[in-house]
C-alpha cells in the first residue's frame, strides 16, 4: 500500500467528479441554446460556434443577444447560490442550512419592494436589493456579536439571522399592504417570485465580477471550512482563527447571494438542495464539493429555467418551479441521506 498511489487515486477521484459535473453543465448549456421560441438545431449551433457561419441570418442575435445572457445568468445564479449554501452548511456544521440563514433574502426583498414602491428604475431596484441584502446580514452579525459574549457564537448567529429575517419579512408585508394594488403590488409579488427573464448583458457585466470576487475566496478557504466542521474550539486548537474565517465566509457568501438576488429576485431551494445532493455524491470534502456544487447548481437552474421559459407561452416564475421541483427532491434526498448517517 504505497502512499503515493492512494493520494493519487483520491485526488483523481475528486477531480474526475468535478470534470464530470463540468461536462454535464456544458451539455446543458448547449441544449439550452437550442431551446426557445425560435428553435435552433444543436448541430447548427455547434457549426456556428466553430466556423462563425450559418445559413440562418438570425442565429447570432438569438444566441448572443437573447439566450447567452440568460444562460450565463442561470449558470451563475445556480452555481453561486450552491457554493454560498455549501459554505454556510460547513460553517454552521449543519447540512440543512441555506444561504438565506442570515437574512440576506428578506433584506434584499425589502430593498427591492421599497424601490418598487418609490417607483425607482431597474437599476434602483437592483441597488436597493443589494444594499439591504448586505445590510440585513451585517445587522444579524452585529446583533450576534453583541449577544454572544457568553453564548455559543454559531447559535447566536443563527438566532440573530432568524430575527432579522422575520423583521424584514414583516417589513415586506407592510410595504405590500401599502402598495398600489393595480401596479405596484403585482410588481413586488413578481419580483419576490424570482425570474431570469430580465437579465441583460449589462447586468451581468456588473454582477459576474462581484460574484466571482466572492466565490474565489470561498473556494480558496475550502480546506479550512473542512476543519471548521469540528466546531469552533477544536478548529482554533488546530490553528484556525475562527472569528476571522467566519467573517470572511459570511462576507463572501453575502456578497455573492445579495448580488445574485438583486438581479434575479428570490430563488429558493437551490442553495439548500444542491450542496446537500452534491455531498451525497462527492462526500464532505469542500475542496471537491464546492466546484462540484457550482457546476451541478448551474446545470440544475439552467434546466429549471429552460422549463420555465418553454413550458407555456406565459413564463412561469422560476422560484415556483425550483420549489415545486425542490421540495420532493429534498424529501427524497433526506430519506437517502439517513442511510448515510450524517
Amino acid at each position: 500500500m504505497s502512499v503515493k498511489t492512494i493520494n493519487f487515486k483520491s485526488i483523481s477521484h475528486g477531480g474526475l467528479l468535478i470534470l464530470l459535473a463540468a461536462i454535464i453543465l456544458a451539455i446543458t448549456i448547449l441544449v439550452s441554446f437550442s431551446i426557445g421560441r425560435y428553435p435552433l438545431k444543436i448541430l447548427d449551433i455547434l457549426n456556428y460556434f466553430l466556423t462563425g457561419k450559418s445559413a440562418d441570418a438570425n442565429i447570432a442575435t438569438v444566441l448572443y443577444q437573447v439566450r447567452l445572457p440568460r444562460i450565463i445568468g442561470a449558470v451563475f445564479t445556480g452555481g453561486a447560490l450552491s457554493i454560498a449554501g455549501a459554505s454556510y452548511q460547513s460553517m454552521f456544521r449543519n447540512p440543512m442550512v441555506s444561504p438565506d440563514i442570515l437574512g440576506v433574502t428578506s433584506g434584499a426583498g425589502f430593498g427591492a419592494s421599497l424601490a418598487i414602491l418609490l417607483s425607482l428604475n431597474m437599476f434602483g431596484i437592483q441597488s436597493l436589493a443589494f444594499v439591504f441584502g448586505i445590510a440585513a446580514v451585517l445587522l444579524a452579525y452585529g446583533v450576534s456579536q453583541t449577544l454572544s459574549q457568553n453564548h455559543d457564537k454559531t447559535l447566536m448567529l443563527v438566532l440573530s439571522g432568524m430575527v432579522v429575517s422575520t423583521l424584514f419579512a414583516s417589513l415586506i408585508s407592510l410595504l405590500k399592504f401599502m402598495a398600489d394594488t393595480d401596479s405596484k403590488l403585482p410588481s413586488i409579488t413578481f419580483w419576490l417570485m424570482g425570474s431570469l427573464a430580465s437579465i441583460g448583458i449589462t447586468d451581468l457585466k456588473i454582477v459576474v465580477p462581484i460574484v466571482l470576487s466572492g466565490l474565489v475566496p470561498l473556494i480558496l478557504v475550502s480546506w479550512r471550512m473542512n476543519v471548521l466542521s469540528f466546531g469552533d474550539e477544536e478548529a482554533k486548537a488546530m490553528g484556525i482563527h475562527t472569528g476571522k474565517l467566519r467573517v470572511l465566509i459570511i462576507l463572501c457568501a453575502s456578497l455573492v447571494t445579495a448580488s445574485i438576488i438583486a438581479i434575479t429576485g428570490h430563488i429558493g431551494w437551490i442553495g439548500l438542495i444542491i450542496p446537500h445532493f452534491a455531498r451525497l455524491i462527492t462526500g464532505p470534502d469542500n475542496k471537491v464539493l464546492m466546484p462540484f456544487s457550482f457546476f451541478l447548481g448551474g446545470a440544475f437552474l439552467l434546466i429549471v429555467d429552460d422549463v420555465a421559459r418553454s413550458i407555456s407561452t406565459l413564463e412561469i416564475p422560476l422560484g415556483i418551479i425550483t420549489s415545486l421541483l425542490g421540495a420532493p427532491c429534498f424529501l427524497f434526498f433526506l430519506r437517502k441521506s439517513q442511510k448515510r448517517s450524517w
Binding site: 493520494n7 457568553n150 477544536e234 486548537a237 470534502d285
Partner: protein, 259 residues
C-alpha cells in the same frame, strides 16, 4: 520546552474560578489533572489551550507570554484532544488526521505530499491504519478517540492536552487508549490529561495536579498525592489506596472506594 502558569487567576469574564495558580510542565512529562466536577478542570484546560485569557497573572510557553503567540503558532506547540463526539459530516479518518496539519499551512493552502505522509505516520503510531478510509461518523467511541489523538499528533505539537480521553468509552477501549497514551510518552512530548479516575495517574505513572476549592491543592508524584486523606478532601468520599500485586512482579497502587 515548558509551559508555565505564573501566579494566575483563571475564570470566565471577571468571575475567578481558580486563583493563584502556579504550575509548570515540561516536554517529556505526563501530568494528570484531578478534581471534582465543577472544580475548574475545564477552566484550567481552556486557559492552557488559549480559549480563555487569564484574568490576572501570566502564561508562558517557552518563556514567551502566550499573548504574543498567534493562533497557528500556538497550534504548532499545543495539540488538543477533546472528549469523543461526532461530526455532522462523514469525513474519513485519513481526512480528519490530515486536519491536524492545518496549523502548518497558509490561509489558502491545503495539505501537500509531506503533510499526507505525516498523517499516515500518525495513523500508524495509533495503529488505526485499517480504519483509514472509514467515515468517522461510523466509528466506535474508542476508534474515534484514537483518530482524534492521531489528529493532534499530526500537528507535531510539543504538548498534548487531553480532556478526559477515556470518558464515554467502554472498559476495553479505556485501557486501549491509556496504553496508547503510555506508548506516546517520549522526551519531546508533554502530555496533560484531565481525568476522573485517580487510577489513571498510577497506570500512567504521571505527575498529579489536584485542584480543589478554587485552588491548586496538590502537585507531585502519585504515591504522595493520591492518598486516602487527599481523596477524602477532594472528592468527599472514602477511598482507600492499596497495593496490587501483579503476576509480572510489578506492583502498583490501586484506588478502592469504600461503599
Amino acid at each position: 520546552m515548558k509551559i508555565e502558569v505564573k501566579n494566575a487567576d483563571l475564570g470566565y469574564g471577571n468571575e475567578v474560578i481558580l486563583s493563584n495558580v502556579d504550575f509548570e510542565m515540561k516536554t517529556g512529562e505526563v501530568v494528570c489533572l484531578l478534581g471534582p466536577n465543577g472544580a475548574g478542570k475545564t477552566t484550567l484546560f481552556k486557559t492552557l489551550l488559549g480559549f480563555l485569557k487569564p484574568i490576572s497573572g501570566n502564561i508562558e510557553i517557552d518563556c514567551r507570554s502566550v499573548k504574543l503567540w498567534s493562533i497557528s503558532e500556538f497550534a504548532r506547540k499545543i495539540g488538543y484532544v477533546p472528549q469523543v463526539h461526532n461530526t455532522p459530516f462523514p469525513f474519513s479518518v485519513f481526512d480528519i488526521v490530515l486536519f491536524g496539519r492545518t496549523a502548518h499551512l497558509g490561509l489558502f493552502g491545503s495539505p501537500g505530499k509531506a503533510d499526507k505522509l505525516i498523517a499516515e505516520e500518525c495513523i500508524d503510531i495509533l495503529g488505526i491504519g485499517n480504519l483509514k478510509h472509514r467515515p468517522f461518523t461510523q466509528l466506535s467511541g474508542g476508534e474515534r478517540q484514537l483518530t482524534i489523538i492521531a489528529r493532534a499528533l499530526a500537528q507535531e505539537p510539543a504538548f498534548l492536552i487531553m480532556d478526559e480521553p477515556t470518558s464515554n468509552l467502554d472498559y476495553g477501549n479505556q485501557v486501549r487508549v491509556l496504553k496508547k497514551i503510555n506508548e506516546l510518552r517520549n522526551r519531546s512530548l508533554g502530555i496533560f490529561i484531565a481525568t476522573h479516575s485517580p487510577d489513571h495517574a498510577f497506570l500512567l505513572d504521571a505527575r498529579v495536579v489536584m485542584i480543589c476549592d478554587g485552588k491548586l491543592y496538590q502537585n507531585g508524584e502519585p504515591i504522595k498525592t493520591i492518598t486516602q486523606a487527599n481523596m477524602e478532601r477532594v472528592y468527599g468520599v472514602d477511598i482507600r489506596v492499596i497495593d496490587a500485586y501483579l503476576e509480572s512482579g510489578v506492583d502498583r497502587k490501586v484506588c478502592v472506594p469504600v461503599i
